[in-house]
Subunit: 271 residues, 2 copies
Amino acid sequence: MRRRLVRQITGFSNETVKRVRSLRDKKHRRREGLFLAEGLRILTEARAAGALPEILFFAPEGAGHPLARGLIAETEAAGGDVIETNADILSKLSGKENPQTLVGVYRDRLTPLAAIDRTRSGIWIVAQALRDPGNLGTILRTSDAVGGGGLILVDDCVDPFSVEAVRASMGALFTQTIAAARWEEFVAWLRQGPAQLVGTSLRTDTDYQATRYQAPTFILVGNEAQGLPAPYENQCDLLVKMPMRGKADSLNAAIATAVMAYEVLNQRRPR
Amino acid sequence: MRRRLVRQITGFSNETVKRVRSLRDKKHRRREGLFLAEGLRILTEARAAGALPEILFFAPEGAGHPLARGLIAETEAAGGDVIETNADILSKLSGKENPQTLVGVYRDRLTPLAAIDRTRSGIWIVAQALRDPGNLGTILRTSDAVGGGGLILVDDCVDPFSVEAVRASMGALFTQTIAAARWEEFVAWLRQGPAQLVGTSLRTDTDYQATRYQAPTFILVGNEAQGLPAPYENQCDLLVKMPMRGKADSLNAAIATAVMAYEVLNQRRPR
C-alpha cells in the first residue's frame, strides 16, 4: 500500500503557512520564485496546461470533487507537498473572507524573450507600464480566448503573479506565455523577425477596422492613466483608434485590448 | 465682496467627515441617497454631465488646477458644502493610501424603468446578478464609449454607487442612465416597446457576427461565475456566441459586453 503523503496543518504559526502567506507580497514571490493560485477552476486549468503545484492546501469540504481528488493525487504523485487544512488557514493564505477550498503554490513561469516562438500565434499582447492586476489578469484571459500566444510586459508593470492578477486570469496565466523586458530589449527582439506592432492611440485618424492586420500582430497597450508614451507610439508600425461615441476619450486598458484582439481574430477566421 | 463659503475641517472626529466616511458602506449610501466620487477627472466628467456635488472636499494642493477652481466655485454657487481639508482626511474618506485631492458627495441617480426613453440610443446594456464593482464600472465606461444609453441592473447586482464601481466607470456613471429592476419587471417593460434582447451564451451556435442587430439592442450579460440562467436565455430574442480559441470557455463579463457592444456599433457606423 502506498504511503499516505498528505499532512495536516491547522495552526497559523506553522512555518509552511507563514511562508506561503508571505507569497502575497511581491518581494517574497520574487525571492522564492513561487506564487499562489486559488480555486478548483484555476487549479484545474493549470493542471490541464501541465502545471502542478509544489504545495497544495485543501479543506476537507473541497476534497470531494473528482477534479479535486485528481489534483491531490497527481500532486502527491509528482512529489508535491499536499496539506489538509481548514477554512481559517485558507482564508489567511488567500486574503479572502470566503476562501476557495483549494490553494496551490506554483513555480513562477516567466519566459525569456529569446525563447518565444512568435510564429506559434498570430496575436500577441504587449503591455506597457500596466498598473492594475485585474487588468493584467483579464488581458491574459482575453489573450487565451482569441488564441493569442501570450503577454509581453514592458517597463514597470504590476506583477503578473500577484494574487489578484492570477485570479482575474482565470487560469490563463498557465496557458499563456509571459515575458518581461525593457522597451529597448523588446523592440530589438521584435525586429529580429516578422511582426506588426500596432498601438491604440488618440493621435491617429486610422480606424481600427480600416486596415488588414498582418500576422504575427503585436497589440501594444499603454498605461491605464497615461496611455502610450509618444516615443513608443513612434516605434509602432501602425496606430489605430477605436470609435468613441461618448463623453470620455478612452476605454479601460483591458477593454481596448479585447476589442482590438477580437478585430484581429475576426479578420482571420472563416465566415 | 462675496462671503467665503469654504470651511476647513482637519479633524477625524468631525461629524461631516464621519458621515461622508460612512458612505463607503452600501447601507449608509442607501439611507442617505448619497455616494462618493473621487478625483479631478471624474468630478469634471460629472460636472460636464450636469452633476455637482452636494459636499466637496479638497486638499489645498489640489485646488490650484483651473478645473478644480471651477468645480469649487460652481459647487459654492449652487449652495453646496465646500470643505478644505488635508490628505489624511481624504485618505480616510476614499480608503486609499494616496488619495485624490478632490472627493465629491453626490445624490444617487437611479432612473425608474418607466422614465427611460429607449429610442434615445441604439445600444443598452442589461446586467444580471453582476457581482464585481470593477466590472460594473467598466461596463458603464464602455457603454458611454459606444454611445450606449445606459445600464439596467437585474436581480441582485453589486451597488453601482460603490466607490470601486464609480472609480472604474471613470465618470460614465454620470453620463449613463442607470436603472434597477427585478427580471419580471424588466421583461414587462422591455416588451412594451421596440427591443431586441441579445444574450451571449455557450448554448448556441450563432456567431455574434453572423447576424444584423436591430435597434434598440439590449445586450444581456450574466453573472460572472454562473452566466445567464436558462429561463432568462429563453426570454432572449437571440443568443449569440463569440469565438473562443483558447483553453477556457468564457470571457470576463465586462470584456464580453464590450466585444458585443462594439460589434453592434460597428454594424451601424459608416465605413
